[in-house]
Amino acid sequence: MKRMLRGMVLPVGLLALWEFASHAGVVDPRILPSLELVAHTAVNQVMHEGLLGNLAASLARDMAGFCIGSFIGVAIGTALGLSLVADRLFMPSFNGLRQIAILAWIPLISIWFGVGESAKVVFIAAAALIPVVLNTREGMRAASTQLVEVARALTFTRWQLVTRLYLPSALPSIATGVHLGLIYAWVASIGSEYFMTVGPGIGGLIIAGRERFQMDLVILGILILGIVGFAINLGASAIEARLMRWKPG
């Protein structure tokens, strides 16, 4: 209880200072709009400007890209983790391409795929793919050699080996990758909307707020970004914990 109260001191103090500064005219209210103006903008956006539609568009895009990216990522990671030849052949190239900051791909993707929905989803999928590949590969390689020997003694087929042994034992690692993928995909959704400003979305909303010098809109957008990111993180952790329930320790 005491800890929670202490935690509230700084945020509440800052908000109070903000409210005071904006009312007393210490700071230009265009730079620091009052809290009630932000709240008013929020209500107005929800009621009349289709904020929820923007949010839904961003989330749909995020999910589409994430699903495609993590699915392909698990497939590639499994192949790289199980086949030494594939790993030697492709991993160095993958590592090389990975060095390019992900946002630097946006101009190229926008030339190849346009600035519409498909380009955004491609970009989000690429962002989600990277951590999933890396962690799936790690997980596959970490399978216990003793278990593999047992499986060989039981004359598992190759398919059984993958589905009964390698996939389950790589699951914790894959979950970590998917969790990271979710976070990357959300950031990438915002990035794609910043640079390809066609169509609805929260990123577009923030950019519009900046262009019209509407700080209230920008702050509202940032709040939504934070809350959605937080919710995604929380959801992913919960699913991860649930999937890992069987794991001792």
């Binding site: 005491k2 800890r3 202490r6 935690g7 509230m8 001191v9 700084l10 945020p11 800052l14 730079i31 030849v85 030697r88 052949l89 492709f90 991993m91 160095p92 190239s93 090389g96 391409l97 060095q99 390019i100 900051a101 992900i102 946002l103 630097a104 791909w105 946006i106 101009p107 190229l108 926008s110 030339i111 190849w112 959300w186 950031v187 915002i190 990035g191 910043y194 640079f195 923030i206 950019i207 707020g209 900046r210 010098f213 700080m215 920008v218 702050i219 957008g221 940032i222 970004l225 934070g226 809350i227 990111g229 937080f230």
Partner: protein, 261 residues
Amino acid sequence: MQVAAAAAPPWPSLPRGGIAFLFPLSLLALWSISARLGWLPPQILPAPSEVGSALWDLAGTGELASNTAISLLRVVEGFAAGSALGLLLGIAMGLSRTTEDYVKPLFTAFAQVPTLGWIPFLMLLVGIGEPLKILVIAKAAFVPVALNTFAGIRAVPPIYAEVGALFRFNRWQLLHRVVLPAAVPPIFTGLRYGLTHAWNALVAVELLASAEGLGYLLVWGRQMFWLDTMMGAMIVIGIVGFALDRIMAAAEQRLQSWRLA
């Protein structure tokens, strides 16, 4: 052993790393052939030789060097500011539970919003000049450095502090003889993440608002539809990012050479 020798392929085996070049080389070959035969228009995929010559031209006019230098300077400045603050906050929160209670919730809320989200906010606040870039890069480095420093200090086994108490170390001695050295590995992990994040943030902010730098080179290439310039800039962004990470890894190794295994 003999079985293994007999099973060896009759052709001389490639050196261990050699196979790594097989894929990129064949991709490059396919790319050249497709450009030569015009499978894809050069507006979609320019020939590799054109990317090379675009890079060569940029290097020749000095544009490449000057833009890279500008980007590097921004990253160094932003990273230095952000990681210094991150170290301070991480140490303060790690050492004192009271500080943690007061500051951590606000810090967590601040860290929830991705760097990309703060850019438009800061644009309205400070304009699109040099301070914007430094602030954005500093924010990107600040969060992972603070988090890892905090976690690293908390993970120092209490038994170390007990040994320190046995030696009658005062607070300062305890901090710089025991706690900080023990927390070096996680702190360095944080610094490495911080530098990677700083480099990504640089690309983001230069794409959104800049008239110079490697990110601007990309934007410029995009506007002119010069794919060769764009791809050249991407390659340089990748190489510099890789080099920065390597430098950090080397520094980490050096600092930890005293460790046993």
